[in-house]
């Protein structure tokens, strides 16, 4: 994330006005263990560093290490929760958050992190996740049933149009819920959710996809047979990587592939227990237990009619 100098200047002003040098350094050490302000400044420890100089040095360093948003996150946390039993009021905090928004980043209060505003830009890592760092994600996997058969039976052009329509359905469902397609092959893909109520967002995205495919098959399909999909949702830790192959090696992703291919009926969604337990009853009640689930607890949803 490239931070505008005006935002850095405002934050320097805020930091200098809100706390002493010691606590500024303590917060910096949370992000960069061993961070030594005096060493960075080149001052002997016997000479006190003025607040404004300390603030500028720390924030310049944080920005260079791409940790500027993280440092502001800490300031938000310190204001709301205090630090070591002491309360701090961070000056200009509202203006800082506003300036972040102008730069295309919004504060996600649930994960306590700045994230890119999906209305302004969408990057694979929400503009904030770092390579090789582990995060807890909720994944949604989608697979087209009997893809090879469909490809063999129908002209390539029709298949291409159909799969493009399917991708549109998926994009519409997930983008407004801040999901990211991490992998998309001809016959399906993997979508990641990280922010806000990610389990709920993944589940309602999947339900919407099932409903929209029903309407698509009834009204807009291009093939002479309906398209069917299997959807699975599972959450867990995963090391973020720009490399799709690395992502596939992770246990959580391997598990969701297993749930989708082994325990999901066509035109249905299977969710793992770790996702199901977090859902409000209004959604959880729509899912029924999967009977043969190999010892694990899975739940499925399918569109049924009176």
């Amino acid at each position: 994330m490239k931070v505008k100098p005006t935002l850095i200047n405002l934050t320097v002003k805020a930091l200098a006005a809100s706390m002493g040098v010691k606590i500024m350094e303590v917060l910096a050490k949370k992000l960069v263990p061993g961070y030594d302000l005096y060493e960075r400044k080149g001052f002997p420890e016997s000479i006190p560093i003025p607040n404004i100089d300390a603030a500028r040095q720390i924030l310049t360093d944080m920005n260079r290490l791409e940790l500027f948003p993280d440092y502001v996150n800490l300031l938000i946390k310190v204001q709301s929760e205090g630090h070591m039993g002491r309360k701090y009021r961070i000056s200009y905090l509202r203006d800082i958050i506003k300036m972040f928004a102008e730069q295309g980043f919004i504060y996600d209060g649930i994960n306590k992190i700045f994230v890119e505003n999906p209305r302004i830009r969408r990057t694979r890592n929400w503009g904030t996740l770092r390579n090789q760092e582990e995060y807890i994600f909720t994944f949604l996997r989608l697979d087209i049933v009997k893809n090879s058969e469909l490809v063999r039976k129908h002209p390539a052009e029709l298949i291409q149009k159909t799969y493009s329509d399917l991708r549109d359905i998926v994009d519409i469902a997930i983008e407004r819920r801040n999901g990211r397609v991490w992998n998309w092959e001809g016959d399906g893909g993997l979508v990641a959710f990280y922010f806000s109520y990610k389990n709920l967002l993944a589940v309602v995205s999947a339900m919407e996809i099932i409903h929209e495919i029903f309407i698509y098959n009834r009204l807009f399909r291009k093939l002479d047979e309906p398209i069917r999909v299997r959807l699975a949702i599972h959450n867990g830790p995963c090391e973020y990587s720009e490399n799709e192959e690395d992502i596939k090696k992770g246990e959580t992703v391997r598990k969701i592939i297993e749930i989708e291919s082994g325990y999901t009926k066509p035109n249905s969604i299977t969710v793992s227990n770790t996702v199901h337990v977090t859902l409000d009853t209004v959604l959880a009640d729509q899912f029924k237990p999967v009977e043969k689930s190999g010892g694990a607890k899975y739940f499925y949803y399918e569109l049924q009619w009176e």
Partner: protein, 326 residues
Amino acid sequence: MDIVVFSDSKTTGRFFIKVKKSKKYTLQLHPCAELKKIVKKVRTGSFVYYDITNRSEEDIKKAVRQLDGLGTIQYGIIDPRGVSQDIAEYFHKGASDYIGKQLAKDQLTGKRLQRVMDFGIEKQQRGAVKEEKPEKPEYILSGSDWKDVKTGSEYTFIIMLIELDGSSRLKKSYHRDQLDTLLQRFHDYITYVTEPNNGRIWMSMDTTWLPLFPFNGSRCSPLLTCFRLMLDRNIISAEDIGFNIPLSYRISLHIGNTVYKKRGDTGQIVSDTINSVFHLGQKYAEPGGFYVTQEVFPFIPKGLDDYFIPAGVFEGREIRRMKVPK
């Protein structure tokens, strides 16, 4: 009562010997060729039989058209050789009786004739109800958007009524502030889904909203919006409303005429159409149901046709209900 039989067969009269004996009925026999001339003079309430033996298909069609067209009599078909391929078609076209091969071997009894008469009367009454249906109004197309719609003028609109079910339960369950939040979120959601189709929430009260859509005579896109509202109700409940309750609502969709006035100035509007939509949504519709009037039927997409099932007649209009997704 007069039983008037048109037949070219000399033996037809014997089917009616028992009827003739009854003093309740008088029997008249005429050749088929005289149908056109005589049938006009037949008294109202008479029963006419037409014998199709040796008649061409064209003659039969013509005769049925003439008999049905009178509207003042009931009629039946005599087919002693059982040559008709589609007997039901006679009934579809208005006949009340059919004397086929088997029945023609026996004689027609007064009892059977009475049953036929009763059936015919009931059918006529049903037909009368049908005739009472409000006449299809002259559509005054409001267009595809609002640019030509002027306040104070009458137009045809697509009218949607959506009402939360169990409003008294909601009022008991939630504090006023919470309820206001819930209703505002639902209002916002209705706005969000209707605006892309140029819908405007025209009236709203308590737990009822009435979005209005311009109608160009060829499309009724709010139908699919309502279909989605029914499909996605649990998604909407969980994601857009919150409160962790499964929200239930009923929807009615109609196409009809009303004078247009700006939102907020609608209090003085006297509109049968609007009244009817309110009655349908509030008195007839079951909780959790989506109902469409016969004016909307032509716009049900073919692929979704089997998801709309007959739901009776209300205020003279045929109604269909969307099957409920479980």
